[in-house]
Subunit: 233 residues, 2 copies
DNA sequence: TGCACTATTTATCGATCGATAAATGATTAT
DNA sequence: ATAATCATTTATCGATCGATAAATAGTGCA
């Protein structure tokens, strides 16, 4: 009943794959499966989509929970095994260009149905790896952006970002992130030119930073004009 | 074993509530329950938290799905049974003030663990009511904001918002929304002064609108100064 | 006070879940 | 060619799920 070929009396040749290949394929397809069905998706249905029987999964993973952990690892670490963040600090190029490059490539990596859904599912579960990721975004990306902005604005880059600086960066980052959520989770129409959206968000962000934080410092106000002028590409 | 008092031999006095009260309490607590556990939470655990037995739920709701539907209705419609959006069009007050008032009261309603989690859970399920809500935000809130901005910028308010205008508004809206997600879903520290965050986001948004859309129209550029000046409160 | 009504509980069903043990069959080494 | 190895399947267990039927007990009315 299960296998068409078998129901028809034609035996399905049993495939034997090397453990490494099997394991990788299991994780890959399990990622897609759990992204669609959520982590409550059944192991039988997953096995069916893999073209194998359910107990075989337990030959490769001690428990469903272990398989899911591998899915997390893959999803969370894959977009980060790049040096994008480091390129944020390459001061030979204008900050605006660096931001544009970073967000285009970063969103190329995470703006897809699978990544975003796994991310949101695990976020709702309150998993450590999710909290760790959010902390990484803050420390490795936003903090760096603020530092570079300070440098370009002629401010001290020594001290840690202020709460207000961080908040402005988060709202900026969240605004871009929400574009992906609208497109791939809510499947709502979005402005198709993603790079244009990012460019506008960056322009707005840079102006907003000098505005909101310029009140405290004459120094910033002086550099403000320069920044806003470069905005008119 | 289940009921402490019963295990101790002391009979628990059976409570009888009026059907209306019961029903309301069921929906209310079911909302909290499903917000925490997700919609895969079991009816037995839910009944336990309600202090009743599981089959009693089926006296009030034909199925678990029907109970969940009531939860959706309550969560999605509650924040909208106000005239906040209409006050966005009250041109006797400056647009900036109207935006501030709207987002402060709107986020007062939706920035809590229960609302945000139900919203995200149902969004991942791709439910009609979620898509409807996103459409409502676009048509009743963002479109109105754009219209009011156009009016204040001295532009025509007749035509529908352009894709680019909508996108800027979405990024703005999403940035604010993500503040709530960070605080109540990721339980990450945020700038505690929510009104300050909103004020900064509005400032940035208004400037960004005139910047990004001012290229096409001399008219906007002329009004731009006025808008940016009022930003210096 | 006793009876009718119904809110609530007890008991239970069939389906499905994650997981394990034993049987089978494809591959590899001798 | 045959035996050993191990990837894969078949069969099955106990727990838990949503849901239903029948028994029980609290409430209001005569």
């Amino acid at each position: 009943m299960r296998k068409k070929a078998k129901a028809a009396g034609i035996p399905v040749k049993q495939k034997r794959l090397s453990p490494e290949d099997r394991r990788k394929e299991f994780i890959r397809k399990a990622t897609e499966f759990f992204a669609e069905e959520g982590f409550n998706g059944g192991t039988r249905e997953l096995a069916r989509r893999l073209g194998v029987t359910q107990p075989l999964l337990y030959r490769y993973f001690p428990s469903k929970e272990d398989l899911i952990r591998e899915v997390y690892r893959k999803v969370y670490l894959e977009p980060l095994d790049s040096d994008w963040e480091k390129r944020l600090s390459d001061r030979s190029r204008p900050l605006r260009d660096r931001l544009q490059y970073f967000y285009v490539t970063y969103t190329d990596a995470i703006f897809n149905r699978v990544w975003l859904r796994i991310y949101l599912f695990s976020g709702l579960k309150g998993l450590d790896i999710n909290r760790w990721y959010v902390g990484t975004v803050r420390d490795k990306i936003l903090t760096r952006i603020i530092k570079e902005w300070r440098f370009e604005a002629g401010l001290s880059v020594q001290s840690k970002p202020t709460a207000k600086e961080l908040e402005l960066a988060w709202v900026f980052h969240g605004g871009i992130f929400y574009y992906g959520v609208r497109k791939f989770i809510y499947e709502s129409p979005v402005l198709e030119d993603k790079e244009r959206m990012i460019a506008d968000a960056i322009d707005t962000f840079l102006i907003g930073m000098t505005r909101a934080l310029g009140k405290n410092s004459r120094e910033v106000s002086r550099n403000l004009n320069r920044l806003e002028t470069t905005a008119d590409r």
